[in-house]
């Protein structure tokens, strides 16, 4: 938890809450937890950054600066004359592509740790679903997990390189 006390904070009252005295500053966290309702509202004069108090903001603005321009070919499946037909669609978006770190790989079950896992954070214009197949830089990947942080301005995907070459 991070607290910014108002410069003149020395105890007092405001908005129905009793402010802590100077000797209570070090105990500010406990004081806040006891006095601030967990509704995401702020105590006047205080700024509190904590998930239990405030929601995660929409970080899309910051992420867009961090993201790079990317392009996928998405393989989608449909039925034509009772036969499954795959079509390729080019899609452009902004995102960050990075391999799993060692800790993420250790969390995978034995047998899957040797797979080539990647993590993608992408803007909300891209929407994939688990088991979707995409082609990126001439290699084929399968979406294994989707974490939807739509309200915060991005989505996170876990993909694995698909050596089979088979479609969705």
């Amino acid at each position: 938890m991070i607290l910014w006390w108002p410069p003149a904070c020395g105890g007092g009252t405001g908005s129905g809450n009793t402010w802590p005295a100077d000797n209570q500053v070090k105990l500010g966290v406990t004081w806040l937890e006891n006095h601030v309702p967990h509704t995401g509202t702020y105590v006047p004069g205080f700024q509190v950054q904590n998930k239990s108090f405030v929601p995660l903001p929409d970080v899309s603005g910051a992420l867009l600066d961090w993201f790079q321009s990317m392009a996928f070919v998405v393989l989608t499946k449909s039925v034509v004359n009772f036969q499954n037909v795959e079509t390729k669609t080019q899609t452009s978006f902004r995102g960050i592509w990075q391999p799993f770190n060692a800790q993420q790989l250790r969390m995978k079950p034995e047998g899957e740790r040797a797979w080539r896992w990647f993590m993608l954070h992408a803007d909300t214009s891209l929407e994939l679903f688990p088991d979707d197949v995409v082609i990126y830089n001439s290699l084929q990947y399968r979406v294994m997990e989707k974490n939807d942080y739509l309200h915060y301005g991005y989505r996170e995907y876990h993909l694995v390189e698909d050596f089979t070459g088979s479609g969705p």
Binding site: V79, V80, N81, F82, Q83, D131, P168
Partner: protein, 242 residues
């Protein structure tokens, strides 16, 4: 009454003929196959459509009446499993995409509608006849093969449809339309098993209801051949005694 064109079958096998009928408008009617389809042909006045000898696809049939009005309809050209898909789709009133051929890439439903997958479990050759012939010093002939295939048909849904409507699958295979298609296209469905195998646990909670039946089908394929089809018979010194 507005001009319309129709056919008793919505799908036929290769080389099969089907009759198209026009109604409404002003007679006489002229039939035509629009370009870019499966490659079949149609008699311009008779309305007799002949499916192409090979390949699958969809042909669009257009009828034009005496005052230039037009109407179109489509006919699918497919193999025997595709024709059985057509019977199921037709009789169960399903939409395009709800019936598909199982090729290890079954379409996983994303809604609660009913889906049917038709796959070939195995097939056995029960007859193979080669009938070579010579006409006007040219080699011609035909070869036919008769097969017995066992089809594995899955009916599944995330909702209750597969549980409630699985019996309709058997009724579809024994329907009048199924009989018509068997007569027209040269195949015969075997005695439909009365037992549905409940394979609902295959997909776990993702697909709650899934049942399977196995159906035998007998069918024949006939291929007309010419000299060029046989590499061993090609050559300048080859002669035939007719």
């Amino acid at each position: 009454m507005s001009l319309a064109v129709s056919c008793i079958s919505s799908a036929v096998a290769n080389n099969v003929q089907a009759y198209f009928f026009a109604s409404g408008g002003t007679s006489p009617y002229t039939f035509a196959v629009l370009v870019g389809g499966a490659g079949g042909s149609i008699g311009s006045s008779s309305g007799i459509y002949t499916a192409p000898g090979t390949g699958v696809g969809t042909d669009t049939i257009q009828v034009t009446d005496n005052v230039g009005a037009t109407a179109t309809t489509t006919i699918m050209v497919g193999n025997i499993p595709m024709l059985i898909c057509d019977i199921i789709q037709n009789q169960l009133g399903l939409s395009q995409g709800q019936v598909n051929l199982w090729n290890q890439k079954v379409l996983i439903p994303t809604d609660s509608r009913l889906y049917v997958a038709v796959g070939v479990m195995n097939c056995k050759v029960i007859g193979n006849i080669n009938r070579p012939d010579v006409v006007s010093s040219q080699f011609v002939g035909s070869q036919s093969i008769s097969m017995q295939a066992t089809l594995s048909i899955d009916i599944y849904s995330r909702g209750l449809d597969a549980l409630n409507r699985k019996e309709e699958l058997v009724m579809a295979l024994n329907s009048t339309y199924a009989e018509t298609q068997q007569e027209l296209n040269g195949f015969r469905l075997g005695i439909t098993p009365t037992s549905f195998v409940n394979v609902s646990n295959e997909e776990g909670a993702a697909i709650l209801y899934r049942f399977n039946i196995a159906v035998n089908v007998l069918y024949s394929i006939i291929k007309n051949v010419q000299q060029g089809d046989y590499d061993t018979l090609q050559g300048p010194n080859l002669t035939f005694n007719s």
